[in-house]
Amino acid sequence: MPTRIHVVDDDDSFRTAIERRLKLAGYEVATYPSAQQLLDRLPDENEPGCILLDVRIPGLSGPQLQGRLNELGFTLPIVFLTGHADTPTTVRTIKAGAEDFLTKPVEPEQLLGVIERALARHATARGERHKIEEMQALVAVLTPRERQVFGLVVRGKLNKQIAHELGATERTIKAHRHQVMEKMKVQSLAELVSIAERLGMLGERK
């Protein structure tokens, strides 16, 4: 899968220069002279990549584009790259989730390092999300009864307690529990607890 860097900058010369350098570093590069153009053809999130965003762009500004992408739940990491960094803007963008905030002229080594880091983080995050999605898919196939049992098991309840709570026999609960382990593709209770935690089910009170 190609890694694509999306460069948003109104300065032709800078776009060309940075495109050359990034290509040399082995990236695919897509350039956008305005923020709107990136909005118009949103990059594929599943493809590894990151956005290199100028702050001051005529029309929609860099920080404004960041806001829009956040609203859209767009996950590609954003690295700001600007001619002049003022503190309020920097703070605002970092708080809004920017990967980093760099000032031109930037050493290509530094830029590449930041991009790598961003890509790695994105990849990790993407992997993580992927796993969670998988787990969510597994949870989705549980029957309501099984989900109830799942929820109580990961909270450390004994079969007897669960049977009492749900008004069923201990044997039935045992069967459900087996079913859950099977469906969730785990061998131990510990694994089950870990899944529940990552899916945020431990906070639930059911």
Partner: protein, 613 residues
């Protein structure tokens, strides 16, 4: 003379004894004057003399004086028969005309009068005029005679000749026979002493034709002494001044004369008799006698010849005023324009003087004003510079951005090129492209720095033709970073085409910048919707009109007129000079600037500048 008088009185007294009792002079003296003239009245000298005499007699207030006049014409006629005929003629003519006083002009006339008096005018007193002192001395003062004695020695004429001819060595005498001279006959005797040491050329009594030739060939250091010529010696008679005119035309040397009227005829001057004065003197004496005094009791008066000179002739013979004898009067001086038109000249001079004064005053004023303007411009320049330095802080982000943009490109490109060159099979074409880009970005960076310098350097006020739209665009570009940092939307609406005006680009940029920054500051307190709109328009074909409007709270209406005052500020950190500098700069560009509140809210600042012709 002093001794003579008692004797005269005695004679007069004796004479009175012989007068019949009824004819007592004191009572019955007829108020009439018989003027006997040796020459005729055609010549100017006699005319002036008789005019002077008449003037005084006519002015006699108490009784009118009758004046009779006779010309003896002795310069042209003579001989016993002529005298006899004259005597007979006068005897007949004045038989019934009592004469109070006889005025005899000239030595010859006096001689005839005294000879005829016994028979024609017994007992009538005689006043002589123009009797030279030498003749007077010989006369021995007969009874009932007084008059005007003249001092006009030849020495005077020689002195005048020496004055007009430096290093004089020769004098040439020109005139009729000495015996026929009315005024100067005594000079004949004075020649040996007066001309001692000088050569004498004697043309006395010569024919006019000869005189004309000889006066044209006189030696270098000579002068002509002219007495009077009455005829050409061949039957034509003229007045002495006419004759002098002829001679002067041919003479190669200056001509010294002894009578005032001869100045005008061509004489350079000399010790001269003034005829009107002599006439007046004689008239004065005659009046005293008519009023009752005895002629014997009236002492003769003396008139000296005065040094008079002809200005024109002085120019001709190159004689300076300083070389003339002391007390000389210069006649016939050509009146200067000033003398001719004295009052007009004075008026014109006064007007010129006034105007000159006014001009000087205005120049002075102008000078002061220009100094003041130059100073205020310097001040404005300094203040503007200060203001720019202050705003430069705010602008630093713009400059940093503009500068870092090309620097960023250059760095990236340079490294790329380096890596390409390190590769095994470098793409030289790409390296070339990269180098071209680097050069271009480098120039861009240089341009930014040049702009920054231009903005921050203190430059004197300079005027050139510029496009206001371009300036407006630059400033708005400048400020865009600042605007986005302050969350202000900046819009610019430019008129189509150019707005060419004459002015100082840096200062006009500053005006626009100050106005925009001012608008942005004014909106600091409003939470959202901060907008600044700049507009340029062509107004009625001759004005460039600029407006900067904002969406702020506007200006309190009672402060509208004060916003351009120096140190007027509503900001905590404001110096209150931004708008005041804007106004100063606009006024220096012969433009107008004003502020108003918009009907839809917010303030609008406007300025207009005249378009370049």
């Amino acid at each position: 003379m002093f001794r003579i008088i008692p004797l005269k009185r005695l004679v007069v007294g004796l004479f009175a004894l012989f007068v019949p009792p009824g004819l007592s002079a004191q009572e019955v003296r007829s108020h009439s004057v018989l003027l006997l003239d040796q020459s005729d009245l055609r010549g100017p000298f006699y005319y002036q003399l008789s005019a002077g005499l008449r003037g005084v007699l006519d002015a006699h207030a108490e009784v009118r004086v009758t004046i009779y006049g006779e010309n003896l014409d002795l310069t042209r006629f003579g001989g016993a028969a002529y005298e006899e005929s004259l005597k007979r003629h006068f005897k007949e003519k004045y038989r019934d005309r009592p004469i109070g006083v006889i005025v005899a002009i000239g030595a010859g006339t006096l001689e005839h009068t005294l000879r005829w008096r016994e028979e024609l005018w017994p007992g009538v007193p005689v006043v002589f005029a123009m009797l030279d002192e030498t003749h007077f001395a010989k006369l021995g003062r007969p009874a009932d005679v007084t008059g005007v004695v003249m001092k006009k020695p030849l020495a005077g004429a020689i002195k005048a000749a020496r004055a007009v001819v430096p290093g004089l060595d020769t004098v040439a005498f020109v005139g009729d026979d000495w015996a026929r001279q009315v005024l100067f006959s005594h000079w004949d005797d004075e020649i040996p002493t007066a001309t001692a040491g000088l050569n004498v050329i004697d043309m006395v009594g010569q024919k006019m034709a000869d005189i004309r030739k000889r006066v044209a060939e006189l030696p270098e250091r000579s002068a002509i002494v002219y007495t009077a010529v009455f005829s050409d010696g061949e039957g034509t008679f003229y007045s002495p001044s006419t004759a002098l005119g002829i001679i002067a035309k041919h003479a190669n040397r200056p001509i010294v004369v002894g009578a005032e009227p001869l100045l005008a005829a061509g004489g350079i001057g000399g010790y001269a008799l003034v005829a009107s004065e002599i006439g007046a003197d004689a008239a004065g004496l005659a009046l005293r006698i008519l009023d009752g005094e005895r002629a014997g009791d009236v002492p003769p008066v003396t008139r000296e010849a005065k040094p008079l000179f002809n200005w024109n002739q002085m120019q001709r013979w190159n004689v300076g005023e300083s070389s003339l004898p002391e007390g000389s009067q210069i006649r016939l001086r050509e009146p200067t324009l000033f003398e001719q038109y004295r009052w007009q000249s004075l008026a014109i001079f006064a007007a010129l003087f006034f105007q000159a004064g006014l001009i000087l005053f205005l120049l002075h004023e102008r000078h002061l004003r220009r100094d003041a303007e130059a100073e205020s411009r310097t001040r404005m320049s300094e203040l503007a510079h200060l203001n720019r330095q202050v705003t430069a802080g705010e602008l630093s982000s713009s400059f940093a951005h503009e500068l870092n943009q090309p620097l960023g490109s250059i760095l990236a490109n340079a490294e790329t090129a380096e890596l390409i060159l390190k590769s095994e099979n470098p793409d030289m074409e790409e390296v070339r492209e990269i180098l071209a880009d680097i050069k271009r970005d480098d120039r861009r960076a240089g341009e930014v720095i040049r702009r920054l310098r231009g903005y921050l350097t203190r430059t004197p006020f300079e005027t050139k033709e510029i496009d206001l739209n371009l300036i407006m665009g630059e400033v708005f570009k400048f400020l865009s970073v600042q605007a986005s940092a302050r969350n202000v939307a900046l819009y610019l609406q430019i008129s189509p085409g150019e707005l060419r005006i004459k002015g100082d680009p840096v200062q006009l940029q500053q005006v626009i910048l100050n106005l925009v920054v001012n608008s942005m500051d004014a909106m600091a307190a409003i939470p959202y919707g901060r907008t600044v709109i700049g507009r340029t328009e062509l107004n009625s074909g001759s004005l460039a009109a600029i407006s900067i409007s904002d969406s702020g709270p506007g200006i309190p209406s009672d402060k509208l007129s004060q916003v351009f005052e120096p140190y007027f500020t509503t900001k905590d950190q404001g110096m209150g000079i931004g708008l005041s500098i804007a106004r100063t700069i606009i006024l220096a560009h012969k433009g107008q600037i004003w502020a108003e509140n918009q009907s839809g809210g917010g303030a609008a600042f406007h300025f207009t500048l005249p378009l370049a012709a």
